[in-house]
Amino acid sequence: MANEVCLRNMDLDRPWLLEQYKSRGGYQMLTKILTEKTPPDTIIEEVKKSGLRGRGGAGFPTGLKWSFISRNAPGQKFVVCNSDEGEPGTFKDRDILRYNPHQLIEGMIIAGYAIGATLGYNYIRGEFWEPYERFEHALEEARAAGYLGENLLGSGFDFELHSHLGGGAYICGEETALLESIEGKKGQPRYKPPFPAHFGLYGRPTIINNTESLASIPVILEKGGEWFKDLGVENSGGSKLFSISGNINKPGVYEIPMGTPFAELLEMAGGMKDGRPCKAVIPGGSSAPVIPGDMMLDLTMDYDAIAKAGSMLGSGAVIVMDDSNCMVKILERMSYFYYEESCGQCTPCREGTGWLYRVVHRIENGQGRWEDLELLEDVTKKIAGRTICALGDAAAMPVQGMLKHFRDEFEYHIEHKRCMVGA
């Protein structure tokens, strides 16, 4: 069964409008919670039960994250939604903003209620102008309808929500860099601990979740944590949005239950273009190590299966490559990305990403040396696990993955000073 949660209103004519959303029971969960004064702990328990894991990439259990906030601590707390969607290959949150903004808003209000926050921010990727306008429009509708503002539906609970358009930096998707950015500072990750639950936006307790995580909340509460969990498989509850792209016939966003075989997803996406063989797949955004096509065709789309194969489900961005692709060229492009997007504060990432890119660039351009392969591996080991944020790891993993599975193409480049593909 597809489109059960975040995309469940996709069949409507203009699902982003408030009346359309309400026609499918939208805001009823919020109304129920506010009128019945549902204890916040009950909500958090239900989210925990659902097995929802953060859809931003790290897969941290959402209910658990919410439970870290000391609800009764005095002072402001914040709910922040991460709609920065910077991970190459990922374009699912854009569709939530475009087609189901109210479900996100409802999810954020409930999150605020659950942790005792009265203010929220949605940090939207700078390039998402159209989705931003959609979301802004939805905010106005929600405000006019009394779902945002003071004393919501006469419950005594206040919640205000603002969107914040980013400036186009990948690093601002990292949660603490995002908080810095909202505060008006340079987008640089903070050293953790302390985590945002204790020291978040403006130093106040904050939960920060991905768009998809938060947009899933109203449905989880409506249909129950068990229901959601049972959509998926062990350790990977629910259904999930996958942004599938590459050499396929119907690239796009597909919501499918966790644990669905990759082959099925590929089929939904129209199969391989021109019937070419599937050479390689990056299963979870550019930061996830590549998996050879034949191996991938045997895997299911859930956290454990992909991890077992040495990669990550990440943000659910599936990049499919056929045999016309040179893996050295692909890696060069990816390494360039991390080199350009490193925030530059910590040494291994600032210096290492540039080094990786330059070496791969040399190999791609026929100037590789045999010792470069060992050097690349060594440099990735010196970055991974030694940086402030996970961008360092994200830059290292694709290199490691490529060298593990497609070493021969790199060797060919070094030996023949040209590409194997098409040779």
Binding site: I171, Y191, T347, P348, G352, W355
Partner: protein, 765 residues
Amino acid sequence: MSEEQTVTIEVDGRELKAQAGAMLIDVTDAAGINIPRFCYHKKLSVAANCRMCLVEVAKVPKPLPACATPVADGMKVYTRSPLALAAQKGTMEFLLINHPLDCPICDQGGECELQDVALGYGSDVSRYVEGKRVVKDKDIGPLVATDLTRCIHCTRCVRFGAEIAGVRELGATGRGEHMTIGTYIEKSVDSELSGNIIDVCPVGSLTSKPFRFQARAWELTQFDGIAPHDSVGSNIHLHVRRNEVMRVHPKENEAVNECWISDRDRFSYVGLQSDERLTAPMIKRKGGWTEVDWPEALDETARVLKQLHGDQVGALASPASTLEELHLLQALMAGLGSNHVETRLRQNDFRGKAPSFPWLGRPIAELETVDAALLIGSNVRKEQPLLGHRLRKAALEGAQISYINPFEIDLNYAADQMVDTPFGMLADVAGVAKALGATGGLIDSAKVDETHQAVADQLKQATKASILLGNIAAAHPDYAILCGLAEKIAQASGATLGFLPQAANSVGAQLLTGKGNNAAEMLANPCKSYVLVGLEPAYDFWNPAQASAALKAADSVIALTSFRSPSLEQTATVMLPMAAFTETSGTFVNAEGIWQSFSGIVRPAGEARPGWKILRVLGNLLDLPGFEQESSEEVLAEIRENLADKKPDNSLGDELPAQQLSQTSGLQRIGDVPIYAVDPLVRRSMPLQQTHDAIAAAVYINANEAGKAGLSEGDRVSVKQDGHQATLGIIIDSNIPDGAVRIPAGVAGSETLAGQFGQVTLEKA
């Protein structure tokens, strides 16, 4: 977290006790265990960005930065395990790949943290064969040179600006490898503490511009010293090569200057090499100056002095003179029958009883713990920069700092500023006193406004509060009234009265001098003869026009001086070359009342001799008793004996002078002394004179007053004060109140005018 809770951790097999929550690196530093680091600085916030301090912590798979890892009971740490060393060496390799490795031409060479750590953790050959990053250098002013290609992005300089200097002048712009340190918009770094970024920078990216390419670190010999330009008495290291002071660094002393010094203390040494150094004794003969040898100069001086007695002679000395110099000067004068020795040359109102041992009122370090402070007539940030820094720290902790000043000062924290004409200041101070329930004198007729009440309440509610009188107050024509009102405020609010003494030995000078005629009296009724110590008549007096006239009228003026200067040459009859800062031993008493002695560490320029020796020999030549000392230590021992029972004491006489001297009509001059105009040495340090803070003489006036007088920015005006005249430019400045103009003193251009305060008229020139 309970603060007192101690935990036990194990580092490299050694058991250490530490406070729970302390950062690991502080604990290992205290135990003498060295962990390499770059971004960590004990006075700055944790950045944890360099990743040099990675260590292994048992049960944690990844190495952790010691600078950002709080210790917890039972923690086991390995600073040199294979995992830790691999991480440290990995970071080192990364730091070096884009570093130019230009140590042979780098000023930091030999004292570079990167160089030192690379020796232990670096490799001899680089695996990096790609092109290296190059960063264009920026011109950030006359004090700090940049070689940004060497930068390792530790952001210490950025954090220093934001957290200590209190101005975000430097930032890290750009991402990743493109990140560079800079000012974003081209501009200079102007903080009065900016030179400290040279010290916090671990590499040769930010170095001293005046010192640039002058010497290698290993050619320098380090000596201790005490900075001579304000009453903080910052502890300094003087770096000397071949009898020349090459640079000045801070010497750490938590109680005084922590690990910082002001730019004034760091860069004034350049003035020691001024062409204007007086290197031989000179006597004025037939209107011209003739160089003579010491015996001749001393004989001539003794001959002149011998003819004088009693009230005919007065001594005027710089408040930065040492205790030893002042003691002997006092003794010399006493021997001649005069007790006219004065150092308060920037004061004109000597009514009332001066405190016997005027001081800050509390230890310097304690300033940062006050919850409220009222500063009267003070630009502390520029007058005593490190006291300003302490007050800023207090403000950041929530203290309410208020000012009553004749112009709005530039501050780097939130404070209440009451700005009024010099006359109006009295009303403000009286208003605060009245709000506190004090009575008497001006207070009774004062009006209490909301601000007065708010400040009064803050002072009253504070558990620790200070009322501080600054340099502008000391020059105020009604200083005595300000002091009296300040004391009333202190008494009524329970706050502590304190002074922000002007110069390095203002406090010490008060202990020894000021028993005869004061400076105002000595100049208003000219003496037959004057002895000047360390002064330039044009710039070091409250009323330079009056001072010059009095000196010119005298039969003889004996000047002990390190520098020649036109105003001295016009007025003096004998110039005796005196050793300058770093060339003589001596003692200063700082604002807190701490006696700090120092030695002479370079030979005086030319024939110059330490002031105390010149005075001692003069005493001998005059056959006076009490001039047998062989060393400055012996002089000091005498002083100590005489002053053994002197304790800091700010109490003033009970009587409030009731009568105001300041005029109530016409435009009032505010003649503050800018930060780099305070003494002859600072005035000769070219790098300091090129900074933004080295403002020139001009008429600073607000748009309203300028409009009334038909003046606009850039106009030249003829300023008249008390029959004296100067032609100056107009600068429109919204910080000046109506009814007043700021015409700085101590700078070229205003020396022909009269007092630092007083009525002036402006006329388009």
